[in-house]
């Protein structure tokens, strides 16, 4: 998978924050405003119901945006998702690749440098690391911080998507640490104006990359903390 084709602005669903009916209504405008990837994530929702939601999302999520299914590879296969996002404790990447076939994205959540290295060795297309800041989606989980994000970014050559309490204002700092993109739940779905929120994320990402692309720096120097000089 070409790292440049890895989505940068990831929207993760959470039926406790926003119903699927509401999400489907917003989706065309969310995608138009700049969401690159939608992760179907709904822990506790039975598979039969999840499959119906997945089919609805599949109809609405068209290229260049991609639909990723969290954890359930069987549902990703059935709804013809563009890929699967595996939890840190989820299925092996190899199983996902074998079952999904070529041309699909396989990502994994990681919460440490060790897990990032293991996931990269498995052949993940991208990693999601967090929570970078404190977040209402994980109450009580201490922020892991920007330094930890940078360590994970430099631990592998796999693009890292940052998650956890990331607001548009925090995007520049996160991208300067070398993050390839950001993943958001409440920052978009609980915003007063979700469409405006997407635009704000998009603009923040495009601006900071316009004034010096930190991942280029990482690639040129081979990592090892040099991107910190870019601050």
């Amino acid at each position: 998978m070409n790292p440049w084709s890895v989505p940068r602005l990831h929207l993760i669903t959470d039926p406790a924050v926003c119903s699927f009916e509401q999400l489907c209504e917003w989706l065309p405008r969310l995608l138009q405003a700049g969401v690159d990837a939608v992760h179907l994530r709904a822990p506790g929702v039975p598979a039969g119901e999840l499959l119906k939601v997945a089919a609805e999302l599949r109809r609405r999520i068209v290229p260049p945006a991609v639909l990723l299914v969290n954890d359930r590879l069987d549902i990703a296969l059935l709804c013809q998702a563009d890929g699967v996002h595996l939890p840190e404790q989820g299925l092996p990447v190899r199983a996902a690749r074998e079952l999904l076939g070529g041309g699909r994205l396989v990502g994994r959540s990681v919460h440490s440098v060790e897990a990032a290295r293991a996931a990269a060795a498995e052949g993940c297309d991208y990693l999601v690391y967090g929570n970078v800041y404190e977040t209402a989606s994980k109450p009580g989980a201490a922020a892991r911080g920007l330094d930890a994000l940078r360590e994970v970014v430099h631990a592998t050559h796999v693009p890292v998507v940052a998650i956890g309490g990331i607001t548009p204002d925090r995007v520049p700092a996160v991208v300067r640490m070398g993050a390839h993109g950001v993943a958001v739940i409440r920052g978009i779905l609980a915003a007063d104006d979700p469409i405006a929120a997407v635009r704000a994320y998009r603009q923040a990402m495009d601006e900071v990359r316009g004034d010096g692309d930190s991942r280029d720096i990482k690639r040129e120097t081979g990592g090892a903390g040099r991107s910190a000089d870019n601050r």
């Binding site: 590879l73 059935l78 299925l91």
Partner: protein, 221 residues
């Protein structure tokens, strides 16, 4: 791998033991399964309701290896992807899980697909959609409440078993004392959790159940 679909499935459904960590009182699934198979279990189902999937994978690999060695049917509950990743012999879905037709599409024609219908209509639909067997229950209220009421589910088993061509397994509150009636109602076997997994002597409990099932099946011939 030889498919379990077809004629040998009936024999493999005689004593179907489903794992349950909370009832196992700290004994690992592989140990429970080993004892159950030694006692006469013909099928083992990995049922994973809580905890990380990585743990289900670890346990599932142990059960996969054990069941292959012992030539026992190995089924995974609900998660078709886990069944495929573990190279299980079958997968079992319920009414809120992935539909039977979609499950069949994912697993192809080699794996056994089981389904738990709640109604006769669902049973017939599942058979038409490609299910290989049905788990029908709860036959009895629950084994933890032996005095909880009459065996209202036997009639349900009888009705469904008479209406479908695929084998039916009774489930729910089944013990060595009442398993014979389930077979006489038309089931080819019984599925149990607590009667085996929760037993002090897993092997003995499985052996007693298996004996009752085999005797009832022999009478039916």
């Amino acid at each position: 791998m030889v498919s379990w679909r077809g004629t040998r499935l009936r024999d493999a459904l005689r004593l179907y033991v489903i794992t349950d960590r909370t009832l196992a009182r700290g004994r690992p699934e592989s140990e429970i399964a080993r004892q159950a198979i030694a006692g006469g279990a013909t099928a083992i189902q990995l049922r994973w309701k809580t905890g990380p999937l990585s743990e289900a994978l670890r346990v599932g690999r142990e059960l996969r290896e054990l069941c292959s060695r012992e030539r026992v049917l190995f089924v995974v509950n609900d998660r078709v992807d886990l069944a495929l990743a573990l190279e299980a012999d079958g997968v079992h879905v319920g009414v809120t899980d992935l539909p039977v037709a979609e499950t069949r599409r994912l697993v192809g024609d080699q794996l056994v697909v089981g389904f738990s219908p709640e109604t006769l209509e669902q049973a017939l639909e599942a058979e038409a959609a490609g299910a290989d067997y049905l788990g029908v229950g709860p036959v009895y209220p629950t084994v933890t409440k032996p005095d909880a009421g009459p065996a209202v589910g036997l009639e349900h088993v009888q009705r469904i078993a008479a209406a479908v061509r695929i084998p039916v397994v009774g489930i729910g509150g089944i013990t060595a004392e009442n398993a014979g009636a389930v077979i006489r109602a038309g089931a080819v076997g019984v599925a149990v959790i607590s009667a085996v997994v929760g037993a002090d002597d897993v092997r003995l409990a499985a052996a007693q159940l298996r004996k009752v099932v085999d005797e009832a099946l022999a009478e039916r011939q």
